[in-house]
Point group: D2
Amino acid sequence: MAEGTSTRADRAAYYERIARKNLAPLWESLHNLVPRTPQPRCVPAMWRYNDVRADVMEAGSLITAEEAVRRVLILENPGLPGQASITQTLYAGLQLILPGEIAPSHRHTQSALRFIMEGKGAYTAVNGERTTMHPGDFIITPSWTYHDHGNLEASEGGEPVVWLDGLDIPLLRMLDAGFAENYPASTQPVTRPEGDSYARYGYNMAPVRYQPANGNSPIFNYPYERSREALDRLYRFGELDAWDGVKLRYINPATGGSPMPTMATFMQFLPAGFQGKTTRSTDSTVYSVVEGRGTARVGDQEFHFGPRDVFVAPSWQPVQLAAAEDAILFSFSDRPVQMALGLLREERLE
Amino acid sequence: MAEGTSTRADRAAYYERIARKNLAPLWESLHNLVPRTPQPRCVPAMWRYNDVRADVMEAGSLITAEEAVRRVLILENPGLPGQASITQTLYAGLQLILPGEIAPSHRHTQSALRFIMEGKGAYTAVNGERTTMHPGDFIITPSWTYHDHGNLEASEGGEPVVWLDGLDIPLLRMLDAGFAENYPASTQPVTRPEGDSYARYGYNMAPVRYQPANGNSPIFNYPYERSREALDRLYRFGELDAWDGVKLRYINPATGGSPMPTMATFMQFLPAGFQGKTTRSTDSTVYSVVEGRGTARVGDQEFHFGPRDVFVAPSWQPVQLAAAEDAILFSFSDRPVQMALGLLREERLE
Amino acid sequence: MAEGTSTRADRAAYYERIARKNLAPLWESLHNLVPRTPQPRCVPAMWRYNDVRADVMEAGSLITAEEAVRRVLILENPGLPGQASITQTLYAGLQLILPGEIAPSHRHTQSALRFIMEGKGAYTAVNGERTTMHPGDFIITPSWTYHDHGNLEASEGGEPVVWLDGLDIPLLRMLDAGFAENYPASTQPVTRPEGDSYARYGYNMAPVRYQPANGNSPIFNYPYERSREALDRLYRFGELDAWDGVKLRYINPATGGSPMPTMATFMQFLPAGFQGKTTRSTDSTVYSVVEGRGTARVGDQEFHFGPRDVFVAPSWQPVQLAAAEDAILFSFSDRPVQMALGLLREERLE
Amino acid sequence: MAEGTSTRADRAAYYERIARKNLAPLWESLHNLVPRTPQPRCVPAMWRYNDVRADVMEAGSLITAEEAVRRVLILENPGLPGQASITQTLYAGLQLILPGEIAPSHRHTQSALRFIMEGKGAYTAVNGERTTMHPGDFIITPSWTYHDHGNLEASEGGEPVVWLDGLDIPLLRMLDAGFAENYPASTQPVTRPEGDSYARYGYNMAPVRYQPANGNSPIFNYPYERSREALDRLYRFGELDAWDGVKLRYINPATGGSPMPTMATFMQFLPAGFQGKTTRSTDSTVYSVVEGRGTARVGDQEFHFGPRDVFVAPSWQPVQLAAAEDAILFSFSDRPVQMALGLLREERLE
């Protein structure tokens, strides 16, 4: 039967023939390639901390931090099987470090963030400075900076410490821009006292001749104590957005932008009883619950979340947040990439 | 047999168990996820125009421009089958428009460039202005701008016109940021005379109150006549880089950056006898030969190129160019994305 | 006698003749107009707080805040008499507000900073928010923002409060860009609780959708407590620059730049016994001593400074600082203007 | 008689006393220091070329270019006598170079522009490249670049050449940021062929690895032929602003900003019979007539202008332009300074 100027069989024969020359007809796939709205393969999903904590701890007996280099369980999006991706651009995992262990020093062009979930005694070292990791702290290890993690001996108070890793691994895989190398020793030398970066850059001041060399924040630990205080104060002042509750983004104080060029990070407070309106945006977002309980509707899913649960909202899926008790959510997404390229869209639905 | 603290079988059982919870062990894939150097799946490839021209023309009898919306043969990288990708982030195709045809008006968030290969009589319309397409012209249709293409009737001098399309389709697919819509009519109204944008922005001047609203160039046709003249003059002045010959990048005169935020474009002259040194970079590049003949070594491949041939150099693959006769190469890549994210690396080898 | 091609008399007659047409010979003044190095008319000078405090207080009995609008004694550079200038681009004055008084609300395109010297009970209101002024606090009232100052009644604990005002009045006079208007009431309405701006922008976080509209910091009070703590911590960490001691610049966290586009502000710590090396730069700087005693050599002058003294270092004059006891200096200059125009030069002499 | 809390005599005595301490009462001068609207001392003025040309030529017999270094008659604003200023921030002068002369090479931090008025044979050299000066060309010699001027011998076709110099001398005097030095020889070596910079940067392209090092345009001659063509085309396309006619600003193609950080430059076309509406802005502007005749109302002045006349419009003075015959006006102002500092205001009056 005729389709325009040719039969279906004509076309099939033609397609088969040109395929051998690495050619394909755009008109058969145009609507998929240039969709009306985003068609993410990434799906809404949640990992309950209670469901996975035992697996994380079991990994501690299965393999040493040194052998593993990084002892992490990847949170793999069910819509992206085998791709080590929680969204199409982002990777997330739960990392465990036991007392007395060291995760050896290396660097890579992938940017990484750490959001601390439980335990005490561990540190992350970046650029010659170690920072102690407390639950709720947000820590960055920017692209191509040597970093290692360690933990006190149990006798010194070290506990198993678990944190959420967020990296731009899938993004850099697509961009074919991944480089890595190991530091010649398991730990990098400590050349600066703990708190040095924060003292230089964390007080709305900076060294007099400092000029930023790249888009990475010179602060590398944003302590929970401070972030929590900002949210508390704003809530007391009456701030409450009908979609977001009280929501702040972490900034690179040297530029006002995101702490790293590829990932934005947020912390928000939802008071008990909050019933947020629906929003959607083109940046896929990973949420990590810090405190409290509530419900997140994401697309056609409903997640009842509690402390340390992780859930993900794909691009352009409607998201609606509600809190049964005062709740704090940390989140991260590829928003700065979308902004840099002029692609971010957001919608706040009534 | 023991591996560290557990047997291989222990681990396999564990991996199987956690997989059901959408968890995966990072340590089994760390080296793939965080490679020493880029490991592109995209491979070096070439499409000879003489090999594919007949197929392009045949498409003209197989389907109308109107039915196809865009009558394009996608150049699909052999390393990325079925993905409509010439590199991991970029799409390329050969588009044909016959005399008297119209490719109807639509817009999408994907950015597009056109590089004209043969024929005369066709135009592209963007933002209410039509520009006639001449071989060697470089034309942009920025993100979310309505655009349509048309051609004169054969009786008015219209010829079959073929151009190379370059789009960031795979990048936007990964970013889940694709939106599209059709214009209510097949062509948008013409509201400005041909040459208006160029007169406003193309003379190293700009309207007195103009401030750029986004990263897209206000010039939308960069005529070959001008680009060729710049290369000619520089060559006569003695410019000749041992790696690149005489190579210029197109700029957005409102910012100095690339004409669109996701794709850089270049034009270079290689004099007869030029034997370039080897270079490599993390932006994968699509080359389109404008004039002349020569040889491109890309990774372990060697391509003997002539006019209108298209070839592709994946990330971090060594590239070496030589010219048997005076040659002009147009090329495009995702360089501005890599620069915006602090990821671009280049190496010029001796 | 001949000078080149003409006599001195010829030239004088010619000069006189062309002067009537508003013409003048460049060659007679070229070396003054285009000097080898800066030739500031501004001179090094110091105002001892002990010498001027009584005059400031006397002003309180001479005129009311309301009549004066702003009850300020201008610190006028001896090299710039009658110009209300402490440097060629900057104005400085000591402002007094007594218990129960109000300095009425107005706005102007001149940017203003306040550095608090003594007393308690007073506030500054900007953008609907009042901030209590404590000694050592640095407060901004950006260009074209309504601002008023007030003080508690004596019965509520209000004391005479004195602060240093710094404005870009001479700069805007030269640029002919001064506009001003009064608010219809003596005080602007209070629409936001005290601390609101700081909670939003002061914690290395920002509201999620905030984009800076101009170059002014969204924080308007930088409390001394925080600035002092940053300096203390850095000094304890071993930071000590041979020229500057421990010196930080205040930043606009939305951009990383100076808090306002025309004035940079700094705070530095000089430990007891510090003998700084000599530095010079093209930004003329006004220093205000917060704590401690020491010596400043500026050009051919030597100033023995103590708490609340103000001194000024003109462009390109060598400056050398020494501390007899632990000292804190606040300072401000036109550095961001010089940087924006590509003019800043600095030299650190051995 | 009492004035508020004190008598006039009390105050006078107090003022006299504190003056000895370099203190002055703000309240006596507040309205002058912080005016309602700009109060420029610069006044509207015009220099008719026919009135001053003979004086310029006479300077050629009075002093050699070499002795003068720069043989220039300064256009001194009648409101700013003795200050070598045409506006409060800008300097303008008419420079003459005779056949066979050289104006020796030097550099200074002051930025300079040249707008060619008459004659042929002369060149300006910047950064090792000479450019021939044609009437209507706009040439820059950016801050701290060595530059010299020369002219052909009369036997080779050299004619007396006159151009308008525009510099930011008063601005840099206020900023105390002036440095200068002579080149060790009278001319700098020529290291690049004429047209090299334009070929690299003037075609909406740039060398592939070029990144701007500062705010200065890499193009240093903007030829009249091109600027005129852009205006002509736009006028033919129907462009005609009721205030400005057809007005373009010159851009630095590396940034989209002004060619130099301290001065904006414009060229506009007014068709015969054009009666512009009134506009005003805070940047004081110097106009140089290229072609045609017309009338400029500036404040309360009316100037009937013809070719090569120069007139000046102070800050915030109403400006209204009319053309008796097709007219082209070149102009320059301190607009980029005002924009960088957030101070520019404009008003288009009906």
